[in-house]
């Protein structure tokens, strides 16, 4: 009997985690299947990435040039390997409306645009007004990602 209950619970938990996974998938359907590098995108006439839902997401050349302008002087060739679009990670764990930016080059770009100090080298937590400001500057080169902790 005990074994039966455990198995049943296991199936239940699996179902629930599957439901959560489905929700997460639907929330992040707009994310690209594969992010592309700044160098690649700059060489294209129509820079775009393919999203998980099959649609295409066009990245504006002006924004790419702005990013190149910010990163080229400091990071040189390494900047060309920067994967785009930049991800604004929204997770309830950071608090309501807080977002995380990861990666040294990404943080540099965000810091330059927002004119803000940052505490960690490769991570930045920004809040709603900053997110709006960032999205206004880079509407096509940034995308929201919705995350949730495993616990």
């Amino acid at each position: 009997m005990l074994i039966l209950i455990t198995r049943h619970e296991g199936i239940e938990m699996e179902l629930e985690s599957r439901t959560l996974a489905k929700l997460m998938r639907s929330l992040n359907d707009h994310l690209p299947v594969e992010r592309r590098t700044l160098g690649e995108l700059l060489n294209e006439e129509k820079p775009r990435v393919v999203c998980r839902d099959g649609s295409t997401h066009r990245i504006k050349t002006e924004e790419l040039k702005l990013i190149e302008g910010i990163t080229k002087s400091r990071w040189g060739k390494e900047a060309e390997m920067l994967k785009l679009p930049l991800l604004i990670e929204m997770a309830p764990d950071y608090g309501r409306s807080a977002a995380r930016i990861r990666g040294r080059i990404c943080c540099d770009i965000v810091q330059t645009i927002l004119q803000k100090e940052r505490k960690a080298v490769d991570e930045m937590i920004i809040f709603r007004p900053d997110v709006r400001c960032l999205r206004r500057e880079l509407p096509s080169a940034t995308q929201y990602a919705f995350l949730i902790s495993a616990s």
Binding site: M24, S26, S97, Y144
Partner: protein, 218 residues
């Protein structure tokens, strides 16, 4: 007071299952709330852009029509019509989409529409300078009109998604989660009631056994 979900038996198993469903619903609710907030801020930004584009378009078109009217007054309406038939222009634009949190919005890139006076194809001798001004202003207004079309469509698409997400958030917040909580509360109450019943029953059985023993010994 939220409704209780019918057909759920008051067992500990169900209570555990409900607990997990509540956690799941709360996680989903938080995430959807984040999405709704982000969508609303995107929507407000695009609405702001619509206002800017609309005022720019109105201003530019008003100037263009004023110049056209002046040109018609100077040259005559028929002459202006004749000139307009001589000139022609193909608009070349690049249509693509952007994906904002699952909302597909159009991006339109327009190739250069402004032409020099020679490219327009009409003679300078028998036309008024107001006609040149009107042509230039109309060419400039095309850019504004295209931009307005782009942001207007974006607003509509975003508004639909905001409504959809809001409905899902509200359904979770005001119906699903309260119902799950109410059901869990009902089960907890029923279980503690059953525990009390059992306790009383055991007490009574014990008392009956003890009174039976007393009777036997007597």
């Amino acid at each position: 007071m939220a409704e209780v979900i019918e057909g759920i038996s008051p067992t500990r198993m169900e209570l555990l299952r409900l607990g997990r469903r509540i956690v799941l619903a709360e996680k989903g609710h938080k995430l959807l709330k984040e999405k709704r907030d982000a969508l609303v801020s995107e929507f407000l930004d695009v609405v702001h852009k619509v206002h800017e584009s609309r005022s720019g378009t109105d201003e530019k078109l008003a100037m263009a029509f004023r110049d056209l009217l002046m040109a018609q007054a100077v040259m005559g309406a028929d002459a202006v019509r004749q000139v307009s038939q001589v000139t022609g222009q193909d608009l070349r634009m690049d249509l693509d989409t952007m994906n904002i949190m699952g909302v597909r919005v159009p991006t339109i890139t327009l190739e250069e529409v402004k032409r020099s006076m020679i490219d327009r194809g009409y003679g300078f001798a028998d036309t008024s300078s107001k006609l040149d001004d009107a042509a230039r202003n109309f060419e400039e207004s095309i850019e504004y009109v295209i931009k307005l079309a782009e942001v207007q469509q974006s607003v509509e698409n975003l508004a639909t998604e905001v409504i959809k997400t809001k409905r899902r958030v509200n359904a979770l917040e005001y119906i699903v989660i309260p119902r799950l909580r109410a059901t869990a509360r009902r089960i907890r109450m029923r279980l503690s009631e059953m525990e009390r019943e059992n306790f009383t029953r055991l007490k009574k059985i014990k008392a009956a056994i003890e009174s039976g023993k007393v009777a036997e010994t007597a």
